[in-house]
């Protein structure tokens, strides 16, 4: 019984350490879908909430990857276990939709959305330098994903 409890506690402390980040990553898909559907619609409260959530999550995850060595090691360890080719398509908003959303955020000269939205490209551009070559190669394997990331300036078109 003791052993079982210890094992259980160990599982909690090791397996679920980055559960919240994993959940955040998964939540990106639904928000991206909403944003793509409503990219051109005029700004309202619901859209503002989703914009704030999606782009803040992107910032939080990038910040964690860049600043938290433990998280980054864990990420590299589990990258190939969890990576699927449609992931990029699920989580990343393309440049065209991003620009359209950015335009709807400007009302009579006032910017009414989250600050992270403005710097979406800059944040994403930072990520590749914290990925391994193998991980980058994997991301580029899928043509659609590659196009999306090249469009956003994350990867160079030639490389």
């Amino acid at each position: 019984m003791k052993l079982f409890s210890m094992f259980f506690i160990l599982m909690i402390f090791t397996g679920c350490r980055y559960q919240s980040q994993f959940d955040t990553l998964k939540s990106l898909a639904a928000d991206r879908e909403y944003l793509e559907t409503n990219a051109n619609t005029p700004l309202d409260n619901d859209k503002q909430v989703v914009i704030e959530r999606y782009f803040s999550n992107i910032k939080e995850l990038s910040h964690k990857l860049v600043n938290d060595r433990r998280f980054s090691n864990n990420f590299h360890k589990r990258f190939f276990r969890y990576f699927t080719l449609d992931m990029c398509d699920d989580f990343v908003l393309d440049v065209k939709n991003w620009k359209q959303i950015l335009n709807t955020c400007e009302v009579s000269g006032f910017y009414l959305c989250a600050e992270e939205l403005k710097h979406y490209q800059d944040i994403l551009k930072l990520v590749p330098s914290y990925l391994t070559k193998l991980e980058i190669t994997n991301l580029k394997k899928e043509a659609q994903c590659k196009d999306k990331l090249v469009g956003l300036g994350v990867f160079d078109e030639n490389n």
Binding site: Q48, K59, H63, S108, F110, L112, A114, E115, H119, D122
Partner: protein, 411 residues
Amino acid sequence: MKVILILLSFFILSNSNSQTLISLEDVSNKVRNSNFMVLENAQRVYQAKETINFNKKNLLPKLNLWNILRTPFTWQGAVDIVQDIAPFLVPNNWFKVGQSRQFYYAYQEQYRALWANEVMTSKLLYTNTVRDIHFLKVLKDYSGKLNELVKIAENRQIFGSVQPSTIRFLKIKSIEINEDIRKLSNLVFEEKKALSYLMGINQEEELTLKKIELPKVEELSRLKFDTFVFKALDAAPEITQYKYLKEALRYTRRYVYFSFLGGSSNSQGIFNNIPVQDGLGFGAASSIRISNSESHILDLNKESTKEVLKKSLYNLVNNFNSYIDNIENQTQRRGLARENYEALRNNLAMGLDIDPLEMLESVQNEFDASISLVHYQYGVVTTMERLKRMIFNGDYSKKESKLADLLQRSE
């Protein structure tokens, strides 16, 4: 003699006021770097940051010779001076570090609010001063037209077509306008001095303000309150500070629970009114209840701040929309008044007999319409500035720390 002259001219030149040319865009930078209140509060934030370091270093052993000398060299004696030789074993010392960090974040938010308020006050004062300079110009123009009218009436008096009482009346009007010009010039002078103070510029220097580019009100569209309220509440440091203060309050509760392991010597910042026993005793429950009540007060303050922000925002959006709805009226009024004045003036030039009082009324109408339109345009500028402050746009935008860190790395 030559030397004396050179010295004299040097003395005169060195004492003469130097001129400083500033634009609306310079104001925020000047306030950030030289405003006295902003600088003072920046020091408070620095102190809060340094307090974190102090509390961190307080976890390391410290030397108090008298404590050591009066303690017998036994294990029991070592326990007596644990606060000195191993302060890191006292949980409350760790809580102190956490709490001071939360206070630092709260101070940062308060600083951000104060800084934004000072920037806004300065920018509004700048706008009002430029507006008053504009008014002064319109008033001088009005005075010129009135003087012209007095001359025409005096010429007419020779032929007997104008009564002396009419001339006297026109002259009284002209004197009144000269008095208004004097008063307005003084107001502009005072405004410039106040602006110098806000921007931390020496009072000896004379400010020259660049013109403001007025927005094309006709091209602006109406605003919706709903879209602004989200951004305003999301960006408000006045609200964010409560998040950190509540976090800091949690540490006070932990002090109470862990007071049986020894207390921390320094204060709990703004929560000093919560009594903490020196050890876990029967007063602990009351301490917790007081801290819960303090938490309730913070919630109430947060809600009240939200409502105050919303109230201001409602008024600003309403004002902005009313400006947009009525700009056409104002422009039309100005156009008609000018047209009327020009028509009478042309008639006068052609030698037609026009009553000077009718002409005066026309000049007065044109002046009122001009002033009203200028007031309107600057009103839009100040409303937009207030809105920008509410949603932290433009000069007020200050990036959140994690975002700022990422952007710094990407440069």
